[in-house]
Symmetry: C2
Subunit: 203 residues, 2 copies
């Protein structure tokens, strides 16, 4: 009997190291798949359709929303962003775990639609460390850094809506923690009501 995979919602403030953690996590466990968002905005230089985003037009986006094929959606600066539900459903019934990297508001939409999902919030060890990481990128102005820190402060305080918090002190530790959380969740009694009967009836 093949068990369903988990839907994992993954959020955290900018600079917490989400992308690096996900890269290592996917390398370490090929059963885990990463959900790709759909957007109506034009691809940027170097972005690949189906990898960075599914680039679709407004009519396609509206049709998917109408057919309830988006798990969540939002509009920023005139462009639509959304999470197509079909690929996720297919992976999960095939036993794959699916990770959705998503901001706090989208995460809350997913949690109400899929209460069985596992939500993980990743944090830097401290705001000081976060500030240093943003400075080390050397890509942003002082003003941009201060703005990101102010947003991060707000986002961190929303972490208590998540099931788990993982501190990214080192990438390896954070990836280990997430792998342990996934393992533990698969042993929850309520996720596998056939397990006990299986033991009782298995020859």
């Amino acid at each position: 009997m093949k068990n369903n995979g988990l839907l994992i919602v993954f959020s955290g403030p900018s600079g917490a190291g989400k992308d690096t953690i996900l890269k290592h996590l996917l390398e370490r466990n090929e059963n885990i798949k990463l959900s790709v968002s759909a957007t109506t905005r034009a691809p940027r230089q170097g972005e690949i359709d189906g990898k960075d985003y599914h680039f679709i037009d407004r009519a396609q986006f509206d049709a998917m929303e109408k057919n309830d094929e988006m798990l969540e959606s939002a509009e920023y600066c005139g462009n639509c962003y959304g999470t197509p539900s079909k690929p996720i459903e297919n992976w999960i019934s095939a036993g794959n775990d699916v990770i959705l990297e998503i901001e706090v508001q989208g995460a809350s939409q997913i949690k109400s639609k899929c209460p069985d999902c596992v939500s993980i919030f990743v944090l830097p060890p401290s705001l000081k460390v976060l500030e240093q990481r943003l400075r080390d990128r050397k890509t942003e102005s002082e003003e941009a850094i201060q703005k990101r820190l102010s947003i991060a402060r707000k986002e961190i305080s929303e972490g208590n809506h998540y099931d788990y918090v993982v501190i990214n002190d080192t990438v390896d530790n954070a990836v280990d923690d997430i792998i342990h959380i996934i393992c533990a969740e698969k042993h929850k009694v309520h996720r596998d009501t056939n397990l006990l009967e299986g033991v009782l009836n298995h020859a």
Copy 2:
């Protein structure tokens, strides 16, 4: 800041391999402590006071119950058995995780007194394997084995009152699973409400 340890309730049918799993678990993680029950029954050959049981007399047992110093208690064949709460409280505030190996009824008493405890039910891969393990012990009559199997059948069906189920296919796998469950539980947001503030305020 030192976090509190976890209280872990550990049950499973006879022959599931609980003792072997606990032995390996305690060897692999010295932060985990094993609760020792108190009993009014006389020590058997080879049993050590404070290790196998705290052997106390009826007056001591009654006094502890009266002072609310037993987390749970039960009487079998005229002897009292109980779980002293003080050592557990001390370990948990020192940051140790404490395992309580206990049968299903006792586990349910603990869960109502300490809703924050983590309950784990260990199972053999199948009743067939359980039967083979009981036979391999070569210590019991056919009648005794049949009686144990019948009790096991009843106990297995009560597993759905637990938080987690772990299948003891190999001891190493079962111990890994329990270690992952403990790790995951420590990352639950509701267990550490100071965590987010710590990240916000830590210099």
